[in-house]
């Protein structure tokens, strides 16, 4: 137990308040929920990637034991719910009516007394498909005569979704014309999946008498979901209550609205009983929001001294059957245009095209702020390749081209305004911690002895904390966030926010902000999120936005209450407000430090002894619209050995220096970094959702979709620098995603560095032994 004198302000590594609940098995996850009379739903999914639906025969299934209803697309269409809007202003089938467009697409659903009965009856539904040719890549989608996937959409004549550009084509072209050297990299950031350990699910409970729809749901963004539900179903918004209970990991996977939620809610409405729907692992992997799937070509223009003069990028995005990317509506390829990264690149031009394919929809930001991961990966790979090609040390080449400390706030070629940074310092700390110079010598020596070994570096810049309302919205909802703070008469407090933790430790971190700003010990501040009937409206937790946005709101509301507290203290102390001084947890009279009132005494007075005319209570709410994004950064370095016989890569060391501004709970920050570095390792070396020519998903369970465990994950050596954000009230920047954004390139760069003596310039992720083996054998290296 934490001793009572632990205050838990900013910078203290207090233990996570939520962990005791989780470690004792007293968490409350969606599948723990059992309501009286609750029914169970099982979804029938398409075995084909592309097929016309000729008939769906539910007669046998309907008569099976325990079956209450079998829901088809046709039935949903009668209620105008066969289609729903996506987060990118497209439409998505809830239950198929015309065609199935990816393997795993929802075709029908069985509602039964038990899950077993629902599954048995699901297997008895007979569907007649006319199988069509599947499109499984942007290349295929572009080919003349490719099957038209979205024939449901008027005016859609091909499989092209969007064309999008950023930067300046003219100046970039001119810079390339003058370049002394152009370095090109074509690389594929493959489809991967957030794969949270808890799959998605809901319990929909529509009260037939009051009309109130309570939907318990694994959602990272419960408020936005409530609004979307109101718009889709036409139910009045005050009659919809979304409750996100404890969530077992989200990583972006739990941002979208999935067909299962809609069907379960409709079923509960029609049947008048609660309906539970919980995905199994395969359903989660094959049908819910995937990530990445970007085919990227980058060109870097250099002058003869190794200064970068321009960047040109083209990307083809594979968006699956419905354009359902979860991203701010202005930006078709998310925040990909942050692709100039940590470098002072005078001009850049980016073009992006999105394509429909017969794959699952929903490009979510898997532990990433809207496609910054792909951007960071491309630029960091390009930088290492460029250094190798011009024969300059990777670290030195970076330092030569970094945005300098004195250039902040820095206006990037694609329109971003970086708030603060000191990239040289983070690099120096990392190199020092690694012992880079010695290690380089060692690498050279061992290479002479025939070993295959290398060092990779990535110096990422993140862009998080979306975002300023004028530029950032999701379906028109501006991306502010909120905090409501109530201080009870006994000086204990309840903080409610518009965000939703999925393991990030909000109950601790945000209590610590109150502890710092209002002086109430963190242990006395209960943090509650996820119930739309009680919490203030917010856009939710993803894209590392909780601390930058809702954390700022928490600081601001704490300060509001502190100012009210000053008035109460002045009244209690019979002093003038301006004569009072604040120290954490207490106002006192200037010059007489023993004459003071604690925040607890002030809180009590707020309900018992108020100044004349003052409203009772000590509570408030703040909606925070961030003036800018925050830009966390860092340098990661990875050392690898490659087995010449098998192509296996052994990661020997990982040094990760992060700068996320001010750290509120350093232990939680480090935990986030460990987790993200592990996911980055998984993405670099094993995680892959791929498809065969017929569009069958390979990677539909954890035997095929490989997640790293403690066994194979490397050991992480962390370091830090602190460059506060100048515009965030606490100087904090957000950290949850930096390690997944920054590390994949560091891992791959290490392999490329190891293979550089053999002229290898690219291996697409995941870097598996067979690919490394092929590169080695092509270079004549064997055992």
């Amino acid at each position: 137990m934490a001793a009572t004198h632990v205050h838990g302000g900013i910078g203290e590594s207090i233990k996570r308040k939520e962990d005791s609940r989780f470690l004792h098995g007293k968490g409350n996850y969606i599948d723990d929920l059992a309501l009286p009379g609750m029914l169970h739903m099982s979804i029938l999914r398409s075995p084909h990637a592309h097929a016309r639906l000729k008939s769906v025969d539910t007669s046998a299934a309907s008569g099976m034991p325990g079956v209450i209803a079998v829901v088809t697309g046709e039935l949903m269409a009668q209620h105008k719910l066969a289609w729903m809007p996506t987060l990118s202003n497209d439409t998505q089938a809830v239950l198929a009516t015309d065609k199935v467009r990816f393997q795993g697409q929802e075709v029908a659903a069985v509602i039964a007394e038990t899950r077993y009965q629902a599954e048995d009856a699901r297997d008895a539904i007979v569907v007649d498909y006319e199988v069509l040719t599947a499109v499984t890549s942007p290349e295929g989608a572009k080919t003349a005569g490719a099957p038209l996937i979205r024939d449901d959409k008027e005016n859609q004549k091909d499989n092209h979704i969007y064309h999008w550009e950023s930067g300046d084509q003219g100046t970039t072209r001119a810079a390339f014309a003058k370049a002394d050297k152009v370095v090109r990299l074509h690389t594929f950031y493959p489809r991967c999946h957030p794969a949270p350990l808890e799959t998605c699910g809901c319990v929909a409970d529509v009260n037939g008498v009051t009309g109130k729809a309570t939907i318990y749901m694994t959602s990272q963004a419960p408020h936005a979901i409530r609004t979307v539900f109101a718009l889709v179903t036409g139910l009045p918004e005050q009659n919809i209550r979304v409750i996100s209970p404890d969530i077992g990991g989200g990583f972006g996977n739990k941002v979208p609205v999935y067909p299962g939620y809609v069907v379960a809610t409709a079923a509960s409405l029609l049947i008048g009983r609660p309906v539970k729907w919980i995905e199994d692992r395969t359903e989660n992997l094959i049908s819910t929001g995937y990530a990445r799937d970007f085919h990227m070509t980058g060109d870097l223009a250099l002058d003869k001294d190794g200064k970068i003069t321009a960047l040109r990028v083209h990307l083809d995005s594979d968006n699956g059957a419905f354009f359902a990317d979860a991203q701010p509506s202005k930006f078709k390829a998310g925040l990909f245009h942050i692709v100039t990264g940590s470098y002072d690149i005078p001009t850049a031009h980016i073009t992006a095209d999105g394509y429909y394919t017969n794959k699952a929809p929903g490009g979510v930001a898997y532990r990433c702020s809207f496609r910054v991961t792909e951007a960071s990966y491309l630029i960091e790979r390009l930088i290492t390749n460029a250094a190798i090609e011009i024969g300059m040390d990777q670290a030195e080449f970076r330092k030569k081209n970094f945005i300098r400390k004195d250039q902040f706030p820095y206006h990037s070629a694609t329109g971003w305004v970086y708030d603060s940074g000191d990239y040289h310092k983070a690099m120096d700390v990392a190199l020092d911690q690694l012992g880079y110079d010695e290690l380089r010598k060692d690498v050279e020596k061992r290479r002479k002895q025939g070993e295959v070994t290398g060092i990779g570096i990535a110096s990422f810049t993140e862009v998080v904390g979306a975002g300023h309302g004028a530029d950032f919205d999701i379906l028109g909802l501006r991306m502010f966030d909120s905090a409501e703070l109530r201080v009870h008469p006994t000086g204990k407090a309840m903080l409610r926010m518009g965000t939703k933790s999925q393991g990030q430790g909000h109950e601790t971190t945000f209590a610590q902000i109150v502890a710092e700003e209002l002086g109430i010990p963190a242990a006395d501040v209960a943090v509650e999120e996820g119930d739309t009937d009680t919490a203030p409206y917010g856009l939710g937790t993803y894209a590392s936005r909780s601390t930058p946005v809702a954390g700022a709101a928490t600081a601001m509301v704490s300060r509001k209450l502190r100012e009210k507290g000053r008035k109460i203290a002045a009244h209690l102390l019979e002093a003038a407000e301006e004569d009072l001084e604040w120290e954490r947890g207490r106002f006192f009279v200037k010059g007489s430090p023993d004459k003071g009132k604690t925040i607890q005494e002030i809180a009590f007075a707020a309900y018992t002894n108020l100044p004349e005319g003052m409203e009772a209570g000590l509570e408030g709410v703040h909606y925070y619209d961030p003036p800018n994004m925050t830009y966390p950064f860092g340098t990661y370095a990875v050392v690898v050995d490659v087995d010449k016989g098998t192509g296996q890569v052994k990661v020997k060391r990982v040094v990760a220096v992060d700068d996320c501004g001010v750290r509120i709970n350093p232990m939680i920050v480090e935990g986030q970094i460990h987790g993200g570095l592990t996911e980055g390792f998984g993405i670099a070396f094993m995680e892959l959702i791929t498809f065969d020519a017929e569009g069958n998903c390979i990677g539909s369970n954890f035997m095929d979709y490989l997640l790293p465990t403690a066994w194979e994950s490397p050991k992480f050596e962390l370091g830090e620098t602190v460059t506060p954000s100048p515009h965030h009230p606490l100087g904090a920047k957000g950290v949850g995603e930096s390690p997944t954004v920054g590390s994949p390139a560091a891992y791959v760069n290490a392999v490329i560095d190891a293979l550089s003596p053999y002229g290898v310039k690219n291996i697409d992720m995941p870097v598996t032994p067979d690919k490394v083996w092929a590169a080695l054998r092509a270079a004549g290296v064997s055992e």
Partner: protein, 289 residues
């Protein structure tokens, strides 16, 4: 992930088990550790009418040395082999291979017998038993019979066992100056082999008296690389002899391309692992450990 309905019996003796199988063997599935069967049930790939749980039958677990043989009870858990310190000198390939199987959770539950009866071409024990020339003892209502490892594996998930039989024991011949090694390429802990190779040698002076080589994940069953084995008999383990055996074993492999890699890649890993395995096995057999 929800199995279809099935009947469940947990006999308390081997006699009772084989009696149930005599009556309902055709529609039944025996369950030992359940580590392969339960996933199949959950995926509804297997929908038996009856599951006969032999997991708690007495006297079928453990490794014993008897009559110049190691007797591995069918219900011996992978972890019991892995943690058996005597085996590290007696038959080092056994604990070495056990360590490569799945992950600790599955090794605590899964059995050696269940593994070979499952006959997954990607399973590790099959190759080890082929390299060791083990015998499999099967019991039915009508008695006991012994099946040679080389005859036991008949195809993917298919063995020489009849539906009314239970595997009770695996007998491994022990010889002086012999040792083996197991090399496995996996994508992560808990993954089945991309390729794995079991090698066992018996030395006679500075020559190899006898060699056994089993291959995992490069065919429709675990393969015995007979030509490679023969090429080593009576030879000194020179680099050339080892390279030749490795070449022959690679040629005997029948790999297929999949998400783990090309056929060419897998074939070459067989070559690399036969070389590595032979070198380790010879060193161990000579007492170098």
């Amino acid at each position: 992930m929800f199995p279809a309905a099935f009947d469940y019996r947990a006999p308390s003796s081997l006699a009772e088990a084989v009696d149930i199988l005599r009556q309902r063997g055709e529609e039944a599935k025996v369950m030992a550790g359940g580590q392969s069967l339960i996933p199949l049930l959950k995926l509804r790939f297997s929908q038996p009418a009856l599951v006969v749980d032999i997991g708690r039958l007495p006297n079928l677990a453990g490794v014993e040395r008897k009559d110049g043989h190691l007797r591995v009870g069918a219900l011996t858990r992978h972890v019991q082999v892995e943690s058996n310190t005597d085996l590290r000198t007696l038959c080092p390939i056994l604990p070495e291979a056990a360590h490569w199987i799945a992950d600790p959770l599955i090794r605590n539950q899964g059995t050696v017998g269940g593994s070979v009866c499952h006959a997954d071409p990607q399973g590790d024990w099959g190759s080890v038993m082929l390299a060791l020339d083990a015998d499999f003892v099967a019991r039915s209502e009508s008695g006991e019979r012994t099946i040679k490892a080389a005859d036991f594996f008949q195809g993917p998930f298919t063995t020489a066992l009849r539906p009314d039989e239970v595997l009770t024991e695996i007998r491994i011949p022990l010889a002086a100056h012999s040792a083996g090694a197991y090399n496995k390429l996996e994508r992560k802990v808990g993954d089945f082999a991309t390729v794995a190779v079991a090698v066992q040698v018996e030395m006679n002076g500075d020559k190899i008296a006898k060699a056994g080589i089993g291959l995992t994940s490069v065919g429709d069953r675990n393969l015995k690389a007979r030509d490679a084995e023969k090429s080593l008999a009576g030879k000194q383990p020179t680099d050339e002899a080892i390279a030749e055996a490795a070449r022959l074993a690679a040629a005997a492999a029948e790999p297929k391309a999949d998400v783990r890699g090309s056929a060419e890649f897998k074939r070459d890993i067989v070559r690399v692992f036969v070389q590595r395995g032979l070198k380790t096995a010879v060193a161990r057999a000579r007492g170098g450990q």
